[in-house]
Symmetry: C2
Subunit: 190 residues, 2 copies
């Protein structure tokens, strides 16, 4: 029947494409930003999937916001019962660089494993501690892309614990060529 009607055929094609793309998008969304990083960027103590000692944070899109969830370990404490501020700074930082990269790919409507790659380093990290962050919960970091200007992306991050914002962060990231990163790795390990 479909083939007998050009209109229905086109409609069917459109619907199939739409569904397939939706499924593709959904599959993509289950993969964290950090899982797209190449090996030489996967050793980071905060977000590297290959750093067995690290925090291994995972960040995803949730609409126009980026989201990381992290369960602090009992010893990542400042004072008993509360999260260490340096840990918050650390995961805000990695959440920021991951979000900056994802935002640039999204802006260009490209998947995160496509070339040319978008790599970001942190230029400035500003954290405001609003109230003590309880440790016995899953922290939620929510990021919004404040600005994309040339090679600079600024990400605003909120840290939520038990639905309360306990800290906020501003991550000023700078895009660098992948070649630059490979060069300094060679230099640092040469």
């Amino acid at each position: 029947m479909l083939k007998s009607s050009p209109f229905l055929y086109v409609l069917n094609e459109m619907l199939t494409n739409l569904l397939c793309n939706q499924i593709k998008i959904n599959i993509m969304e289950t993969k964290a930003f950090q899982e797209y990083y190449p090996d030489h960027l996967s050793h980071c103590y905060g977000c590297g999937t290959m750093n067995e000692h690290g925090y291994q944070i995972k960040t995803y899109w949730d609409g126009d916001e980026t989201v990381t969830r992290y369960k602090p370990r009992p010893y990542q404490t400042a004072i008993p019962g509360y999260v260490y501020g340096g840990l918050l700074a650390s995961i805000i930082d990695c959440h920021g660089t991951g979000s900056a990269s994802a935002a640039m790919y999204r802006k260009e409507n490209r998947p995160m494993d496509s070339e040319p790659s978008f790599r970001f380093l942190t230029g400035m990290l500003n954290v405001k501690y609003i109230k003590p962050t309880p440790i016995n919960t899953i922290l939620e970091l929510r990021g919004t892309i404040r600005e994309i200007k040339g090679k600079k992306v600024i990400v605003d991050v909120r840290v939520l614990a038990k639905d309360e914002v306990t800290a906020t962060g501003e991550v000023v990231t700078i895009q660098v060529p992948d070649r630059y990163i490979k060069d300094i790795i060679e230099k640092g390990n040469g």
Copy 2:
């Protein structure tokens, strides 16, 4: 002979006191700020002497500057060969709160284990990453007390690696009563 001359006796007493105080000062200086923290403040992941998983940074006076030296562990990396930015933020933070506390005791010319105690929490932590920080060296953090105003102390920190400043930090700390800290610990663990 000394007892026979009141002048020499007094001189001897003065010299002895001077020497003893000097020795006392030297002994004090070998004890890090963090080693004066009471038990309930010694669990911090960054500087707690009782946190076996933590960084256990130690900060001392060096003239008017405060100094922390830290050897990063190989896995505390951002990209191979370089220190993780979140670690730098973390140790800048703890260096800052320790320095703030020490500065207040010094201002009052009191030893760090005297009462009433000076406890500081971080209100804001601002870090600027200037260049990649090599990991195969001992990092030196040097702090200066920019401002002491009421309950607020601002500490400026430089991170040096192989004699180069690779990052700077501004730690805005707020003095809180020890009772406040004990209360939130009780609340958080109740």
